[in-house]
Symmetry: C2
Subunit: 418 residues, 2 copies
Amino acid sequence: MEQNFIDIAKKAKQASLAISGLQTEVKNLALNKVADALECSAEEIFNANKTDLAEAQALVTSGEITKSTFNRLKLDENKMRDMIQGVRDIAKLDDPIGKVLLKRELDEGLILTKVSCPIGVLGIIFEARPDVISQISALAIKSSNAVILKGGKESKNTNKKILEIINNTLSNIENFPKNLIQQVFSRDDVAQMLKCDNYINLIIPRGGNKLVKYIKENTNIPVLGHASGICHIFVDKSADINVASKVVIDAKTQYPSACNAVETLLIHKDLEKSDELLASLQLSEIKLVSNPEAWDVEYGDKILSYKFVNSLEEAIEHINTYGSGHTDSIITNDVENAEKFMNEVDSAGVYYNVSTRFADGFRYGFGAEVGISTNKTHARGPVGLEGLTIYKYKLTGNGHIVDDYSKGKKKFHHRDLK
Amino acid sequence: MEQNFIDIAKKAKQASLAISGLQTEVKNLALNKVADALECSAEEIFNANKTDLAEAQALVTSGEITKSTFNRLKLDENKMRDMIQGVRDIAKLDDPIGKVLLKRELDEGLILTKVSCPIGVLGIIFEARPDVISQISALAIKSSNAVILKGGKESKNTNKKILEIINNTLSNIENFPKNLIQQVFSRDDVAQMLKCDNYINLIIPRGGNKLVKYIKENTNIPVLGHASGICHIFVDKSADINVASKVVIDAKTQYPSACNAVETLLIHKDLEKSDELLASLQLSEIKLVSNPEAWDVEYGDKILSYKFVNSLEEAIEHINTYGSGHTDSIITNDVENAEKFMNEVDSAGVYYNVSTRFADGFRYGFGAEVGISTNKTHARGPVGLEGLTIYKYKLTGNGHIVDDYSKGKKKFHHRDLK
């Protein structure tokens, strides 16, 4: 029996209200029990995954899905171990909820407290990566948010099995709210999710450019993510050629399909030995393109557009015009140029003599990553658990009224408290 | 000659990039010069306002605009003084840009810094209140954001005059970017603004419910604001009847058309002397409605819906169902009930023995108010200058590459720096 999407969304809202006051210890207990259960049921999960893989194999043969989708779909012992460890790691992180962000005495006995709290209901839309289910479920539990998951149809059996194990575990934990993590399956559910701004507070797409772009264009609900990763490296006139070569090779070849891989190399026209630099890149099997079809192509491969620019200013303008606001790096020995670059490039990450590949929540030390955002509001760059929180203001007094202040009988003194 | 909206948006984007590095002193100088210029040109502004008022008078007579719109449109000496003082006050506030929010050594020589920065381009849509122009312009200058303003057509002459004075002043300040503050006038411009997510990063509507609702429903750009203010007061069983009466009277009568005025009173069925409470409200000329057409009506007048509830839980559920997530208060002598109420009511402001009218940026001590937000992302409740900022991550190193870490040659140590 398929449920109506609005009913699912209402249940999620209820669950989000119910979990908002849940203690840290209960959440951590739940996370560790979920990890244990996944460990115990690994065999069942592999079996469900085999069913998905068998169906997907036929689709690869017929050309309906790519080989790389097939690979992402496949769970092996390593992925399973990482998946389970990921849940345990989230249990170890600080609780992002209930943090006092500000405490201020507005007047005698009138105390304002700004406290971090959950956002509410998250809508997660992802493609064929079944490990996302446990990761997002764990992040949701830790941050006290409800989630509605919509995975790729290719991983339907695996997704169902994993969520069944998670929800069976949660249902045995005292005081743990029902329906915190729900799953939907159809395209129609996605369409309804995107319209459901009464109940869903944040959409997080995990997938390719097309998916993210489609979602961003079709909802009024805030979306946390990035459609593309057009990252640049600008090699300034004064750059150390060895640093430039090493950083560009890392940024292009270490994992070419990552969103933080470099796509465009900008070189100052007065850089000496620029041909040495280019030759070193070719030696690392990077295909150089001097006249690309467009300057905002994400190759996802060992291909690199490059261009000579007349000045730092031209490099900055190129990046602000064609970049995606993700991560851009300058290679230079001129501190002033580096400062100017980092101030004026309008991207989530602005780097100086460093590979763009460092743009990652784990590398930044966040302990968990919700995703990477190119948004200009709420959360930008690699987003940790904090990105799944907002705050509320608590105000306590003993019969305080505004009239006393507007008539001048009383005055605010706004004294911050520890 | 009317400009194409996209050209205006592009210029705004350029201006936003140009101002992002502007020094605090230059911004404060600009603000004080703007205040001086408005003071010197008060006569010109009053004259422009008289032209608007004459046209509006005819529309009041024909019923096309309300008397209260007419009053909001009218600038008098007091409003002018407040308007100018508002600009000077913003000059005195801390610069919200360039604050170091986190500084962390990821590894030897690899330093991550999270720094506050402007959002970019703001679209401001407001109704007939010409004082908004100078306020928003001042907030934009201080927070280094570009703005495109669209005011009500009733105040067209006043708006044009005020912005002319502001922009003449800014154009004489060295290094101050052009086109930081631009204005558009037609409905078609609004439609284009709402679609312009390539260039506009945040929309802030300042006006009635209908305007805000329309905007929220018709754009993918993040919107900061609130459509309605359905605020509640719950008088618990253990409430002090005098505190309850005093707080409800303040919350309903001190300024009935404010968004933080109370609309619904919930009373615990076991409260003794509840009839005394109701009688005291009626004595203060509050019209009590026990069977309202709906529980989410914003009266904007001395009218109050009320209802007896069986429990704290029922009160919380009523508020989470019919409220607008703005501000809700409990009157009680039971600390545990107060805590439960403040944790479980899902609103920007959750109050305890205090009038809902305190929900305001100035009363919270923010020094300036961008607006009040019922969003669950980015900024919630009264929003100060901080709400017009986001952050970027700067990462500096000396040739650091990810490959060294993924191969285990190096390890992150993630040490926070002061």
